[in-house]
């Protein structure tokens, strides 16, 4: 028997007892101690006499070698039983192993059943094998209890060295364990080599050894393991794979392991185990950078194989392959991992409300929070029914599904091409959007450095995902209402539980969620193609839900809420810049109120830190947009929504009932929400939460009043800041106030009877009209501005010519001499989605204005030349064209008449080659640096947002 020990004093006494109490006594016990700092050496000496002392840098194979050398003198021991200092054998272990060896004379290596120490009940290993990615496969579930389910003696690839019974001859023949694997992985490598040489390895479940897995758990640190056990294990596994796999599959293995390592790194990053991710990379790099080691090891194995005249090599190879783990196993592990992540993300064990209640109950067991209500008979959930049956018998779920289907039917205008209202045509490919976002100088108009709007990043990403900008836009428009519905339902459910233990009744949640989900539609924003209100309405409830995490009792969850809120706030701000202003002001208000109510909160940084981080993160994540916008004198973009100008305006009454001016469903459908929000102030029990909602509404209206007084003067037009987000936020706060107030009202009504009940029923009937009416209006069809195409006065051949290069611009002049003329320059594929905002903010080019003025009043050859230098190839006067301007252009030499589709559109071609580099401009390093900052920031925040899963190690 060979016992290797290093700093194992903790366990050695039990191990020694276990060895002593073996029914089959080992012939001789050789103990090897590798420089233990504790009293393991003395313990062993006391127990077994001599101890081979080795320096602490001795690896396990070397220690075994030393032990074997000790018994080299005669005494024909046939079998060697190897034990670790943390493996305690059951009294009948050796006997069972020897019995099994007798029963199967071909078996050369035998291993016991390893059970967990200290629990003694859970199975650890019953033979191990290795999968194609180098994962150590035991074939057992984690923490599987031993109930006799794996009690057959069977052949395996390898057994753990703790408790391994091996023929001495075989051990010598195979050269012992591989010295290249100092501590981890030598068992699998040995087993593989044994199988390749034709030896048989058996696992004998009747023999039980209890193993503490000290090195693997990191409990025992040796100079060999260092602090990175994962690195060593992984390196060992990769090494084993590379040196033992067949010559034909080696190149494939090399490539596969490299990719596999990258995938595993991503997986580790997703669970925020950065150290282990780096360990993976380090293991791969260290192994691939020492090919000589691998080549030498492979040569050695080849020699061993050639030396032994074993049976047919094919048969041996097949045996080995059958003992390795099945090839689909790594993929199943991958799927399990993804499934774990998804489950952790969606199924929070308990939401904020319950955690708060639990924390409060912990603090004071006699408080209200700890009291559980009497379970009502009606609330007993149906047990043992399938998911489908539960779905169909749940009226709220059915109605939600019907609502979603109706909403998708109502958004049928968004299937296919969507143009109109605030939406310019989409570009042809997703790469156009990426290019527009990443370039620092845009060849639009006369060339401008105004940065691309920030919402292009999520849209470009969606376009790459959905295979085209058109599909991405359609997806955004169609999914806006269902996503808003889902978010609102989740948010209202948590709010209801925060307010009272049982939460709001599901019918109220249904009303609130459907009313809110219809806000972007009935306000008229959806029909006018205004992405700002539509997307922010969908994202806002998720943002609010994440922000509720700030009320969590655990500080680490508060920080995670901060990252999530910050990321969602950045997304919302990219579609509606006013959202950040609102969040900032609201944050200030909340902080002031919180500090005046609870002064002690200032001291704890984890109370005000997360909200501050969330609000401060959005400007960092959006820095490639607002910093260049300020630098290039386009600050108005910080207050404008996406979409073509002019944006629809909204006045005070419109904000209250949730309608843009002259758009949307009938205004009286929005009145019941306001009335209900006001009535919600009456019940005393829920008054404070409803007041909070009204305070939020007040902040929104204050901001709206302030912004409404601002006029932004752009080069082409004047406009007001976009208030679409504020409309959505106001409607959201009114809906929440109505739902929470309704909760309180229900509680009041339940206790009384009579006219109050009738009044409440009447209120409910009125309330139901809002979502029903809105949904009916949406589905039946409303005259929206979204069509399939937009008519352009530009002839097709001019468009084709302008696609040849950026210098082939088309100057379009509209208006009349009496009322004033306006001009624009059309380049490339025209103005597409995302380019409107840039062009609106681009400053006027004085040279071009001068040239156009001269062209329309007194054209001559110099003017034509200057236009060609500015990159204009065609001049178009769309119908109705002012005859005087057209006549003077006709008389100018240097302009040839060009044909147009309609007779009333006048067009000319400049008879000079255009200047191809007319609109080229400098690259802005500031924007490139900021783009990098944004990319890194998003990745970092996204990793921090990921939920914690239960598995810490793959």
């Amino acid at each position: 028997m060979l016992l290797v020990s290093h700093d194992g004093a903790r366990w050695l006494s039990s191990v020694v007892d276990g060895i002593r109490s073996q029914t089959a006594t080992p012939g001789r016990v050789v103990a090897v101690d590798t420089g233990s700092k504790d009293e393991s050496a003395t313990l062993l000496e006391d127990a077994f006499g001599e101890v081979v002392r080795a320096p602490s840098s001795t690896s396990f194979p070397a220690a075994v070698r030393l032990g074997l050398d000790e018994i080299v003198d005669g005494a024909g021991f046939e079998w060697v039983w190897i034990l670790h200092d943390d493996s305690n054998p059951d009294p009948g272990a050796l006997a069972a192993l020897l019995e099994a060896a007798d029963a199967d004379p071909d078996a050369d290596v035998l291993g016991p059943k390893l059970r967990e120490w200290p629990s003694l009940r859970r199975l650890l290993e019953l033979g191990v094998t290795i999968s194609g990615t180098g994962r150590r496969e035991t074939g057992l579930e984690r923490g599987e209890y031993d109930q006799g389910q794996h009690d057959d003696v069977r052949a395996v690839l390898a057994v753990n060295t703790a408790g391994m019974l091996v023929r001495r001859g075989v051990l010598e023949e195979l050269g012992g364990f591989d010295p290249q694997l100092p501590i981890f992985g030598n068992d699998i490598d040995f087993g593989w080599r044994a199988a390749a040489a034709g030896h048989r390895t058996l696992v004998v479940p009747q023999a039980v050894v209890f193993h503490a897995e000290a090195a693997h758990r990191g409990v025992r640190r040796t100079p060999l393991t260092g602090r990175h056990t994962h690195y060593q294990e992984r390196r060992a596994a990769l090494y084993t794979l590379l040196v033992n796999s067949g010559a034909r599959s080696l190149p494939f293995q090399l490539v596969r392991l490299a990719f596999g390592t990258l995938l595993r790194m991503v997986g580790f990053l997703l669970v925020r185990a950065v150290g282990e991710a780096l360990d993976e990379l380090a293991a791969l790099v260290s192994l691939y950078s020492s090919p000589r080691e691998i080549i030498a090891a492979r040569r050695q194995r080849r020699e061993v194989r050639d030396r032994r005249p074993a049976g047919a090599p094919d048969e041996v190879r097949n045996t080995v392959k059958s003992l390795l783990a099945p090839p689909w196993l790594p993929y199943r592990h991958g799927l399990d991992f993804v499934g774990d992540l998804v489950a952790a993300a969606t199924d929070q064990a308990a939401d904020v409300a319950e955690r708060r209640r639990a924390a409060a109950a912990e603090r004071d067991p006699s408080s209200f929070a700890a009291r559980r209500p009497v379970v009502d008979d009606d609330d007993v959930p149906l047990a043992d029914t399938g998911a489908v049956a539960r779905f169909f018998t749940n009226p709220v779920a059915l109605l939600l599904a019907v609502f979603v289907v109706a909403a998708v039917v109502g958004s049928r205008a968004a299937f296919g091409t969507v143009v109109g209202g605030g939406l310019s045509p989409v570009p042809a490919a997703a790469t156009d959007w990426w290019r527009l976002y990443l370039e620092s100088w845009h060849p639009l108009g006369q060339g401008t450095a105004v940065p691309a709007p920030p919402y292009l990043l999520p849209l470009a990403f969606l376009a790459s995902l959905f295979g085209g900008p058109g599909h991405a836009l359609s997806a955004v428009l169609v999914l806006a209402v269902p996503v808003a519905l889902w978010g609102a339902f989740r948010f209202l459910r948590v709010v209801g539980r925060l307010v009272s233990f049982t939460g709001a009744p599901r019918w109220q949640l249904l009303w609130g969620a459907t009313t809110y989900a219809l806000v972007p539609v009935v306000s008229g924003a959806w029909g006018d193609g205004r992405l700002g209100p539509v997307v922010t309405a969908a994202v806002l409830p998720w943002l609010a839900h994440a922000a509720l995490g700030f009320a969590d009792p655990a500080p680490d969850r508060r920080w995670r809420a901060a990252w999530r809120t910050g990321l969602l706030l950045a997304l919302t701000t990219s579609f509606a810049p006013v959202a950040w202003l609102f969040a900032f002001v609201l944050g200030l208000v909340v902080l002031v109120v919180a500090f005046s109510i609870v002064p002690g909160a200032t001291r704890d940084r984890s109370v005000w830190g997360p909200p501050a981080t969330a609000v401060g993160m959005a400007p960092v994540l959006l820095s490639p947009w607002w910093i260049p916008a300020l630098v290039h004198h386009a600050p108005e973009g910080l207050l404008l929504d996406p979409g073509r100008l002019p944006t629809p305006t909204v006045d005070g009454l419109g904000l209250l009932v949730g309608r843009f001016s002259e758009l949307g469903a009938p205004w009286w459908l929005g009145v019941p929400t306001v009335v209900l929000a006001l009535i919600g102030l009456v019940p005393r029990a829920t008054r404070i939460p409803v007041i909070v909602c009204w305070v939020v509404a007040f902040v929104v209206t204050l901001l709206a009043a302030l912004l409404g007084a601002v006029t932004l003067s752009l080069p082409a037009t004047t406009t007001e800041p976009a208030l679409g987000f504020l409309l959505v936020a106001l409607q959201g706060s009114l809906v929440v106030a109505a739902v929470v107030g309704g909760q309180g009202l229900l509680a009041v009504v339940r206790s009384r009877a009579g006219w109050l009940r009738i009044a409440a029923a009447g209120l409910a009937a009125v309330a139901v009209v809002v979502p029903l009416g809105g949904l009916a209006w949406f589905v039946v069809g409303h005259d929206d501005g979204l069509t399939d195409h937009r008519d352009d006065a530009i002839p097709a051949y001019m468009v084709q010519s302008s696609m040849l290069g950026n210098g082939h611009g088309i100057l379009v002049v509209r208006g009349s001499v009496d009322d004033g003329l306006t001009y624009t320059v059309r380049r490339g594929d025209g103005v597409t989605l995302g380019e409107d905002e840039i062009l609106d903010l681009a400053a006027e080019n004085a040279d071009l204005t001068r040239s156009v003025r001269a062209l329309t009043s007194r054209p001559n050859q110099t003017v034509i030349d200057s236009l060609a230098d500015l990159g204009i190839e065609y001049v178009v006067l769309p119908a109705p064209a002012d005859g005087r301007v057209a006549a003077s252009l006709d008389a100018t030499g240097g302009l040839t008449q060009a044909s147009a589709e309609s007779r009333s559109t006048r067009a000319w071609q400049i008879g000079r080659t255009v200047n191809e580099s007319a609109v080229d401009g400098p690259r802005s390093w500031l924007r490139i640096v900021l783009l990098l900052v944004q990319a890194l920031g998003i990745i970092w925040v996204a990793v921090l947002c990921a939920p914690t899963t239960n598995r810490r190690r793959a």
Partner: protein, 465 residues
């Protein structure tokens, strides 16, 4: 043991505290919604209204007038300049090599040109305020020389046996010009492919006999637009009294754009046949009210119902009887619910004359008129104002000067000396619409026109994409 005395005090204090807290929430529950609604009332957004940016005046450096083809005995071109201090030479191009004629303000220069259309070009100081005409005297018929305009309407076209019109297009530029002529008839637009895309080569004249192109019996109107280059257009109208002998011709003057209010001045006195031709250019049905202008008032004649015009159609209104009944009619006013172009055709005393809707004149204007009995008829004043008329003879001798008061709601007749050729009419305080009615040997009407004295530089701004 409990202490009831002190036990109640904390109870009372907490009761007070609770009431205080309750009051605070009640107060907040009232104040916050009020504040919200108050802030909502302050939200004030305005839709951006498209603003008008007028053009800037600039010096006119060149101008051209197109004179129609001369008729018998009417080859002479009479030209003058309305600029007070300008003098110099203009070039007259009538087919062969261009000639130069010197002009002086206050004097009318004459030039005997060839029979074809003549182009008068002024440059520098003489470009603004260039006035020219060509007329015959027996019977008197005026031929106005006008500047090329991108589009114009001729109402009262005929292509039948009795009434024929010939359209003449002259291209003053070297490049080719293309003209589209849209014809309107009694029942709507008349499809005439030959009139679409008429090509006029540089410095060339094209005459289109409409009766040969599309003979019809009804009253017509044409809309002439140049889709490329520019042309000067004029129409020569011939009216034939079949059987009884006698035919007369006169230039039919154009109207720049149909309007909801048309004032046609210049109704010759005497028995004859008068027809009012109206064309509705829009896509909706239009109702037109016709009133008569006299020196006392503007009134609607009794029994005259309002006229209904179908979309894009021409209507012929016979008003001979009405005009015969009324006395001292100076002009006709047509007010309509939609844009309408109008012409009054009078065949009186064996001669044809047209009164076309005039444009308001707000600054001093100069006319060249044929010799003979004539009177200036004015109307369309918006306020009380004064009109000064200065009459000069061919060589610039001052023949007379009058100041007349004009009032809204009535017309004014100013008698003009017989030998006057050059008339300068200056309205003050109100724009006026008017014409000179020459009625001696025959009749003709020369309308007052606002002179083009400056060029325009339009306002240029970048627009939304």
């Amino acid at each position: 043991m409990t202490e009831p005395v002190t036990g109640s005090a904390p109870g009372r204090r907490t009761a007070q505290g609770r009431r205080f807290a309750v009051n605070l929430t009640t107060v907040l529950a009232v104040v916050v919604p009020l504040l919200t609604v108050g802030a909502l009332a302050l939200v004030h957004t305005e839709q951006p209204t498209p603003t008008r940016h007028g053009p800037v005046k600039t010096a006119l450096t060149s101008s051209v007038l197109v004179c129609p083809t001369a008729r018998e005995g009417g080859r002479t071109v009479y030209a003058t300049t309305a600029q007070k201090k300008a003098s110099g030479r203009v070039s007259i191009d009538a087919g062969a090599t261009p000639d130069r004629v010197s002009l002086r303000p206050g004097k009318v220069s004459t030039y005997e040109s060839g029979p074809g259309a003549a182009l008068i070009r002024g440059a520098g100081d003489l470009a603004p305020g260039l006035v020219a005409a060509r007329f015959t005297t027996k019977p008197v018929a005026a031929g106005e020389c006008s500047a090329p305009v991108p589009d114009q309407w001729f109402t009262g076209i005929g292509t039948g046996a009795r009434h024929r019109s010939v359209l003449e297009l002259t291209n003053p530029d070297k490049g080719r010009a293309i003209v589209d002529v849209t014809m309107y008839g009694r029942l709507g637009v008349v499809d005439v492919p030959q009139l679409r895309g008429l090509s006029v080569s540089g410095l060339d004249t094209v005459q289109v006999d409409l009766a040969k192109v599309i003979p019809r019996r009804d009253e017509l109107a044409i809309h002439v637009t140049s889709t490329r280059g520019r042309v000067g257009a004029s129409v020569l109208d011939t009216f034939d009294v079949l059987g009884a002998g006698g035919s007369a011709a006169d230039q039919l003057l154009p109207q720049t754009a149909p309007s909801t209010s048309n004032v046609l001045m210049g109704v010759p006195t005497g028995a004859g046949r008068q027809t009012l031709a109206l064309v509705n250019s829009g896509a909706d049905e239009v109702r037109a009210k016709i009133r008569l202008v006299t020196s006392e008032s503007v009134f609607a004649p009794q029994g005259f119902k309002e006229v209904r015009l179908a979309p894009e159609s021409v209507k012929q209104v016979p008003i001979t009887a009405v005009l015969a009944d009324a006395k001292g009619v100076l002009g006709v006013v047509v007010d309509s619910s939609g844009p309408v172009a109008a012409t009054l055709r009078s065949f009186v005393g064996g001669d044809l004359s047209h009164a076309v809707a005039g444009a308001p004149v707000s600054s001093a204007t100069t006319l060249v008129v044929p010799e003979g009995e004539k009177s200036l008829v004015l109307s369309g004043a918006r306020r009380v104002g004064v009109v000064t008329v200065v009459a000069r003879s061919l060589n610039g001798k001052l023949l007379g000067s009058t100041r007349t008061e004009v009032n809204p709601g009535r017309g004014v007749l100013v008698k003009v000396p017989k030998g006057a050729v050059l008339l300068t009419v200056t309205p003050e305080r109100t724009p006026i619409i008017g014409a000179v009615l020459v009625q001696g040997q025959g009749a003709t009407v020369v309308p007052l026109r606002q002179l083009v004295r400056s060029g325009l530089i339009p306002d240029i701004r970048p627009g939304t994409p």
